[in-house]
Symmetry: C2
Subunit: 705 residues, 2 copies
Amino acid sequence: MSKESLDRLFEPNSVAVIGASSTPGKIGYAVVDALNVGKYEGNIYPVNLREKEILGHRAYPTIGDIPEKVDLAVISIPAKFVPDTVEACGQAGVGGISIITSGFSEVGNHEAEERIVEIVKRYGMRLLGPNILGTLSNSQKLNASFAPMLPLPGKSALISQSGALLIALDAGTYLRGVGFDKLFSLGNMADVNFADIVEWLDKDDHTNSIALYIEGMNDGRRFMEVCQKSSKPVIALKSGVSAHGAAAAASHTGSLAGAAKVYGAAFRQAGVVEAQNLNHLFDLTQAFQLQPTMQGDNLLIVTNGGGVGVLATDSAERYGIPLKYLPDDLQVEMKNYMPDFGSAKNPVDITGQAGLEGYQKSIEFGLKQDWVDGLAVLYCETAVTNPMEIAEGIYNAVKAAGSVMDYKPVAVAFVGGEKSAEAVRWLIDNGIPAYDDPDRAVSALSGLRHYARMQEEKIGMAEIAQADDGAYEKALSIIKGARESGRDALTEVEAKDVFAAYGLNVTATTLAKTEDEAVAMAKDIGYPIVMKVVSPDILHKSDAGGVVVNVKNDQMVRDAYKKILDNAMAYDPNADIFGIAVQEMAPFGTEVILGSTTDPAFGPVLMFGLGGIFVEVLKDVTFAVCPVSKAQGLKMQSQIRGARILEGARGEAPRDQEAMADLIARYSTMMYDLRDEIKESDANPVMLYEQGKGLKVVDARIILT
Amino acid sequence: MSKESLDRLFEPNSVAVIGASSTPGKIGYAVVDALNVGKYEGNIYPVNLREKEILGHRAYPTIGDIPEKVDLAVISIPAKFVPDTVEACGQAGVGGISIITSGFSEVGNHEAEERIVEIVKRYGMRLLGPNILGTLSNSQKLNASFAPMLPLPGKSALISQSGALLIALDAGTYLRGVGFDKLFSLGNMADVNFADIVEWLDKDDHTNSIALYIEGMNDGRRFMEVCQKSSKPVIALKSGVSAHGAAAAASHTGSLAGAAKVYGAAFRQAGVVEAQNLNHLFDLTQAFQLQPTMQGDNLLIVTNGGGVGVLATDSAERYGIPLKYLPDDLQVEMKNYMPDFGSAKNPVDITGQAGLEGYQKSIEFGLKQDWVDGLAVLYCETAVTNPMEIAEGIYNAVKAAGSVMDYKPVAVAFVGGEKSAEAVRWLIDNGIPAYDDPDRAVSALSGLRHYARMQEEKIGMAEIAQADDGAYEKALSIIKGARESGRDALTEVEAKDVFAAYGLNVTATTLAKTEDEAVAMAKDIGYPIVMKVVSPDILHKSDAGGVVVNVKNDQMVRDAYKKILDNAMAYDPNADIFGIAVQEMAPFGTEVILGSTTDPAFGPVLMFGLGGIFVEVLKDVTFAVCPVSKAQGLKMQSQIRGARILEGARGEAPRDQEAMADLIARYSTMMYDLRDEIKESDANPVMLYEQGKGLKVVDARIILT
């Protein structure tokens, strides 16, 4: 049912405009006019209490008066009338509702928005908005928005959380030469969100790539799942990544903006290509729309100018696809397609004398070589060549290369004046992405490569670690115990018991209530041991003199027991002391840290890094949305700057990265399982030993929701 | 004399074109045609052995036949005839020579190029090229190049090492709307180089900012000095910063391309703003040409759309000018210039309803506030506003703000379609930099701020540390001794003696040749001590068992002496062992590293970083061209990612950053003094103690040129 309603919302056979008007300047006028100008072929029903006809269409007083069950109702009446009107739509059998009207949750009016959602769900309708521009579709000639025109036709779809930006970008499609079949405005996302539309577009024949402008989201996890499954590349620009920007985003859409790092991690896991700014979003969209992804790392650059060749080479390294020299035998052949003083190395410099033929032959030869995975063609406008002819040469070569173009992308940069700009536009019109700067072309190609790499890895939510039987129940009972005693944090002993339930290798830790108990426990564990005060009132145990390490015998246990108690009392005479933790002393290893936090959009998120100075000063950490697979646990270890320390730097043996990956996977499963219970947690430090020797979680912390 | 010749080269009253031709397609034709089309008002003298008249000008068989002393001779004859022709120019009293012809050092033909330089110097002429496009100047109506047109007029100058790129960018000035008064092609830089032109432009009334495209340079140090002194901002794009790219640059111009880090350091020290790509070079040039620099950190953003406001906020943080909220009292007033649902916080969101008046009033109010140091104005094209009217509102506000515009920069971004593009062009024509993406506008403003910060710091080559009297002589005699014994590396003891001569606090180290000597020296220094083998044949002393630390008494000295000798003999029976170094054992401190290397463009370059893993794994280091001041020594300590460790992280006392800055300054003076002798050096580790407690250089290494 909801699928059907989405179809009716996005591919309607009939559109009612509630709040339609004959007065130019009103949104209700603009929407009907837009439907007319766009030459929408379905039925158009203006709804207006007083008017009989609007812009050539018979008008109806209410939605209920229309003689058919309308697929899409576009609503642009004042906010206070909207809920009743939505109810009327439901009664009239409307499929989808698009509420342009603002004045709902974005200004704090949550109640009305919730009421609308309730009505929509009750009738099985779907709702876009409120607070939106509308939807536009070239293939359906449907402009159900107050934007004055449909976008430049193309095979991408753009979903924007900001309506103001979308209307500007709609006009911008013509200026930038990047075509779209569909534009969607999301607004407050009371019902339909990014995930819904991405999922729906995956089945849309008119779309081959999806661009997103995101301010924030609530159900990040479903978004990730949908993007992972999407057969069509998704490119996203996330705004509100600065501390200050996040605040502005929140005030703008009433949406929750997450941290840059969390979105970055979520995009990586979901295989979403991240854009850096608006131009980059368009540049990537153009490339993904017109070209296949790049299946290997070998980028070939063909240029008529050394300078732009070197600039492109710098860009390739910067964007993660560093250049390699063309194999010698190919260089020998490539030399046939340029003057003597050209260079066949890569960048292939066919010199400033190169015209249509020089470009055509060198490119055709290059594209046919198995070695070549992708191609950047650069042209510096000269006095003796004609940009449009060069463009033709490039086009001819690409056509001649035939089926290899199904898996080898090409991008072009022309540096020059108006003639070059014309040639760039002609290339785009003929299916070849083209730009005004080598950096943009290489950046776009790197996006095609980056996407393919993410697809190859296919890590993320698949193959997650399974928790041991009973782990969840055991953890829950410990948590319940703490809650019952009024605490929202577990003690170290409790936290380690939760960790242990999920199979984490924690240092053996028991809670002694008397000296004798402590001695007995110490003997059980085996000397040396560590002893620590356990009290919900003493968070910084070391500062309170509540920790004694390297306790080697029974007498030392007794001495330490007394000393810790004395120190704790002195530190806080009213502290509630549960006892003294008697704990296995882990051998020294490489200190790492695992932690989790709860992100408003994505739920439990895992952080991994090296301990001590690395995390505190260098902030050398990486994030992933829970749960993550063991494969991704390995990958996370390679994502930090200090990765080489784990691989065995400075003559040291490699660390046990397998064991670490296993810990990461289990930890992430634990945090995902317990997402309704745990707000924050960490395992800090974890001692990581050399390959084959495993690890130990030395300290544990869990803060409850 | 050379100054005068440069004037004649760049502002000629007469131009001879040697190799002028009546045949279209020839460069000698293109140059005369370009002079004509540009409406050059000085005398034009085609030089051609056979023709009597070329393109309306009387032709002369040789330069000597021209009836006046020509200021500029443009040469485009085959390479083999060039030297004799230059000689003839000298005899004829030519002032400056511009050699378009290629086929010199860029293809390995150094001899001919050197011969030309010798001739030029002998006659006191100046030479541009060879292998260039030529020079272009709007204010003189001089197009002495084979580019078909003068650039879009403006107040910048562009100096490009690549002629091919320059001709393309010349056409691009119209497309991009960025105007230039002058374009220079540098080619092989046999004589005139970047420094010469930047210095000359500093006195040019028609230029207010200078853009550079750099592939490599030979005299980087003079370039830095000239840029430091330049009253006009210099913006540079350096190509060939990737490993692969550097190789390509070398093969392209025969020039030496340095590492990205060294150029980055040199630019910082010289106050040069670095561009990331061609578009960025143009974006920055436009901003510097049209706007003052930004004197403080407070950026105000005025926008009609929340989305672009947040994007700009993200960019501001990314580019180092993070946004702050407008002070409360200003927010209250600002609120008068927008609808109720707008936001006066910053970004100031005057809402999608804002037209000419909304923009004009809010901007005018904002610009007048002392709090505001710079302004970004954003506009998202809407259905109800006219981009050109918004542009007018912005323009009116800027005019009304009056003299504050002498020190407050503004930049604009319009996101939209063709109408927005027209408005952008109109704004540029009216002196306001404008772009198609908020990111570009904020990036340009950040360049204006970054430049002002570099000017405020004014650190670098000034206030360098003075070496102690006799230091240079002493160092030289130690180096001479090593060279005389056929070594190109100093021993540790020798290197420390050089360091000590320059006032560096090294661990006391003496060379013992017998056990008894070692004991006596150890007593002198005071226990504990360290003992190390000293041999030019044993570089890795520890691997050879050649180091014993923590030697505490006479007997241990004797034991260690024997052991080290035995180990050394076993390691390499043929090693030439100079003796055993007896060395003060420095207390443990924060390990840092200082090193120097010799860059082909900039000479001795200093590296500073934290020791051990930080330098080896994280590569957390920073560079500066020697010599550097103590102030810059302090700054370098803040440039590494681990800077907080030096400031006192995790409860530790701050390190002695003053002592470290002093060491950096002295070390850099030493390396600058000894630049003809020392190729590489390091002080590694240096033990840096807490504030007030100084440091110790524990190990020293010097490799000779």
